[in-house]
Symmetry: C2
Subunit: 197 residues, 2 copies
């Protein structure tokens, strides 16, 4: 049997905790890092640096080094809040440059089967922000998964009574798609949401 040194076995186990990294990829990454110890050390320092500096913004719960984060302090439209599940979803929206309001990161989605209930998400904090006044629209940009849809529905019911407009990202055909390869449910939603040319 192949016998790895203890420290290498440990590294392989840690690498395999990363998303999309299995046994083979972990070996490939480990050997790459062993070949360039300076890269391995730089990565290690960088990891420690990030975990010690990066925290959650106390306003939007996105990730930041300064609290509140740059998105919460920048000159932006205070009347709209875009609600997303995770910090990376915030990036996906922000990259479009089509939204100039504020953000709120739920840090997850409702999933009773996995024990994720409203109290584990940043929902109370969102409602508190909305009750502060000034917000006219909440854009629900949770994922289009069962959990994300359920979370959007839950939030809509909670927010509408506050007299705030609640919107959801449009369903439709992704840009550049070949219609024949798009699933029927998406085409159906695209038909329902069709617009005048």
């Amino acid at each position: 049997m192949v016998h790895f040194s203890n420290s290498l076995t440990k590294l392989l186990a840690e690498l395999q905790k990363l998303p999309g990294v299995g046994e083979k990829t972990a070996l490939r990454l480990a050997f790459h890092l062993l070949k360039s110890p300076e890269n391995a050390n730089a990565l290690a320092e960088s990891l420690q640096d990030v975990t010690s500096r990066v925290r959650f913004c106390s306003v939007c719960f996105g990730i930041t080094e300064e609290d509140p984060c740059w998105l919460c302090t920048a000159e932006r439209d205070d009347s709209a809040i875009c609600v997303v599940e995770e910090p990376q979803d915030l990036l996906a929206v922000e990259r479009t440059r089509a939204f100039r309001g504020r953000y709120h990161v739920l840090q997850g989605a409702l999933s009773p089967l996995n024990g994720i209930t409203p109290s584990q998400l940043r929902i109370a904090e969102l409602i508190k922000r909305l009750e502060g006044g000034g917000v006219r629209e909440v854009v629900l940009a949770t994922n289009f998964t069962v959990e994300g849809e359920a979370t959007a529905l839950y939030l809509a019911r909670l927010i509408k009574p506050l007299g705030i407009r609640v919107t959801r990202l449009a369903h439709g055909i992704p840009l550049g798609s070949d219609l024949e390869y798009v699933d029927a449910a998406t085409v159906q939603r695209a038909l329902e949401g069709r617009s005048e040319v």
Copy 2:
């Protein structure tokens, strides 16, 4: 524009130095690690641990924590040495359990275009081991790439005059292959190397 904190930008840059990790994967890994700082710190410690403990075996130039490595000290057949390019290639051979001899890791392959000449590989060390006597066969298990083949040819010319048998891994059809999808050159080599049933 999306604005990352300095420490996160640094981490993304370090992650992108890993093989097969681009911008998107780096983001995915970084956000995963941000969500579980204990994993990030364990990975960082593990990296530092490995780079400080793991070194090259002074006999076979594989990676090890103790010098000489367990493969060089184990009860094995001293009369055969399997020559590979990298430590991970050694694992590929060792996993088969079909070779019970010793190993020698060249730490690369000849590649004049990339400036890799014989003096940058552990070839002098291999010859010294062979001159020590007792070795009857050298199995060349360098990769079947242009560089690997050139290295095998170079080594064969160097070793044969020492009166040592030099062999190379067989070419042929990989197990489980559909013949129609195997490239012609491989089928040709398999035909040339055909054996009695």
